[in-house]
């Protein structure tokens, strides 16, 4: 059964080259992230004033910045802050949202109503503006950019998990567990969560691209990672001053953001079509 399903999935993947491209990009980015110390030709923080603002060349493929740091090395190391920040953001909002949503849907009644109204209010905010205000209040740092974005994205998972729970709570096995006197925590953990994860994981994959973009945007306007951390958004921001004569400086870190976000979005989009029977064949 599992084997057939896997073959089926593999067949459908092969019909969607764009999804495979997304998967390849994601794999490549993760690889770069893990192997950064081996791949980066130079120390990303080492100043080398003799070669400041050098154009791309054989020695420095992406050129150098205003204090002579190798931009290729900084883009490679930057994946660690930018992509990790994206993944952590989504991990927080996904786990928090899924837990709240599952319990809210399972408990029903006034608790559920109250939670959902709070989520409506949060969803009605323009999310970037809320994240920006929160990050500004907390003070500029990468962590203080991650937390607000995670909070702002949590309601999406609450809704998703609650919907899943509502469709599962009257299933026979959940009813049976209840009649045996299992605790709500046990039922949610053992029966509800494992059976409602697929759409949540798809949403999370799509969200990682968005989170990477948002974190880098906050860094760009000065609310995220601070110098000398190698982070893509912050690198575009500092390269901005030089872009008229040193086009390479902001170009490569920005390209890294675009390619990475596209990879996660293409893959997530394809995954959604693969797993959602309603979208299949559309």
């Amino acid at each position: 059964m599992a084997h057939a399903q896997w073959r089926n999935t593999r067949y459908r993947l092969s019909r969607s080259p764009v999804t495979v491209l997304g998967l390849a990009i994601v794999a490549l980015v993760v690889l770069v992230m893990l192997l950064a110390p081996l791949l980066a030709p130079y120390d990303p923080d080492r100043l080398h004033l003799a070669v400041r603002l050098a154009a791309p060349s054989r020695h420095h493929w992406f050129g150098t910045d205003e204090v002579g740091r190798d931009l290729l090395s900084r883009v490679i190391w930057g994946s660690r802050s930018s992509v990790t920040a994206g993944i952590i953001t989504v991990a927080i909002s996904m786990s928090l949202g899924t837990l709240i949503g599952a319990f809210s849907g399972f408990a029903a009644g006034w608790f559920d109503t109250a939670i959902m109204r709070v989520m409506d209010v949060l969803l009605a905010f323009p999310s970037f503006i809320l994240a920006m205000a929160l990050a500004a209040a907390l003070g500029p740092s990468l962590i203080n950019a991650i937390v607000p974005i995670a909070i702002v994205r949590t309601p999406y998972y609450v809704r998703l998990a609650r919907g899943q729970t509502l469709s599962l709570r009257n299933r026979g096995y959940v009813q049976a567990a209840r009649s045996f006197g299992s605790s709500p925590w046990h039922i949610v953990r053992r029966h509800i969560l494992p059976n409602s994860l697929a759409p949540i994981v798809v949403q999370a994959t799509l969200d990682i691209g968005l989170a990477i973009l948002t974190v880098s945007a906050l860094s760009f306007i000065g609310l995220g990672a601070q110098q000398p951390t190698a982070e893509w958004g912050a690198m575009v921001a500092s390269g901005r001053e030089y872009f008229l004569d040193q086009w390479w400086y902001p170009t490569f870190p920005g390209l890294a953001i675009l390619v990475t976000a596209s990879g996660f979005n293409l893959f997530g989009d394809g995954l959604r079509e693969l797993l959602d029977p309603r979208l299949r064949g559309r």
């Binding site: 503006i129 929160l134 003070g139 945007a217 901005r240 920005g254």
Partner: protein, 338 residues
Amino acid sequence: MSLLQILCRRLLLAIMVVFGVVVVTFIVSHLIPGDPARLMAGEHASAQTVQHMQHVLGLDRPLPEQFAIYVGRLVRGDLGLSIRTQRPVSEDIRHFFPATIELSLAALLFALAFGLFLGVVAAVYKDTWIDQLARVISIVGISMPAFWLGLLLLELFYNWLGLLPGTGRLQEGLAAPPAVTGMFTVDALLAGEWGTLRSALEHLALPTFTLGFVILGIIMRQIRSAMIEVLQEDYIRTARAGGLSPTRIILGHALRNALIPSVTMLGLTFGDLLYGAVLTETIFAWPGMGNYVVESISSLDFPSIMGFAVVASLAYVLINLAVDLSYLVLDPQIREIG
């Protein structure tokens, strides 16, 4: 559920949301590290001045009372005094608002025109290379950091080709047209100042493309999936069997019906417009609210940041309420289901 009941429910929710916005911004402004009174009074102020400032700002009163004062001020349109510009924040926002509206409207028009076209074409040629290409364009649009796209366009069209101006809203030395709407293109058109209009349009081009491209992907996706759904309906098959031309079926029958579910998306797009405008205005030194708030952030001007957050959030809530209500009017099915 009757239309009236639905209306009441939506309105009630909107009021709750507005209240939520006020509560959240109040909480956030109290999270601010350091003492706002000290920020206001300046770095070298004496303890006595800071205490006086605390009293003036009402910061020495209990929290519920502070909240009541805060709400009272908001109702009167008082958003506090900007630390950076030393002007009332509401005045600043009024001053910078038209430029943002002009840019957002231009970007929305651009994105709608291309998004509709690409969405329809992708749906009609579903699963062909055209569809795949449109999908890639849409994903690249969604994944594009607006601040970076703006820089690239500046580099290409301003620095290398010299075709378009770099930053600002008008050529240097050119006077702004007599203010009617505050949008330079519209005002220049109304006053018949063609030279000014041309300059305003040239300055608007790159920011519009930057902001529009980011939204285009979202619009295209929505139109594509709505069109695909509609194209499978029986009445389309009937129209086809009746021998109507494909163009007429697509534009006259399918698109009209696909647009209805897409209306709600417009309200949500406003959030993305706001987000994009903050980044785009920064790059192009476009003197709008986005640029204003980023400059406020770099000088820790919290009254301006919070003022902008309140106004932007309220605008977002109201626009979405308006969109929801127009949706009710447009789609009779919703009225019956609720």
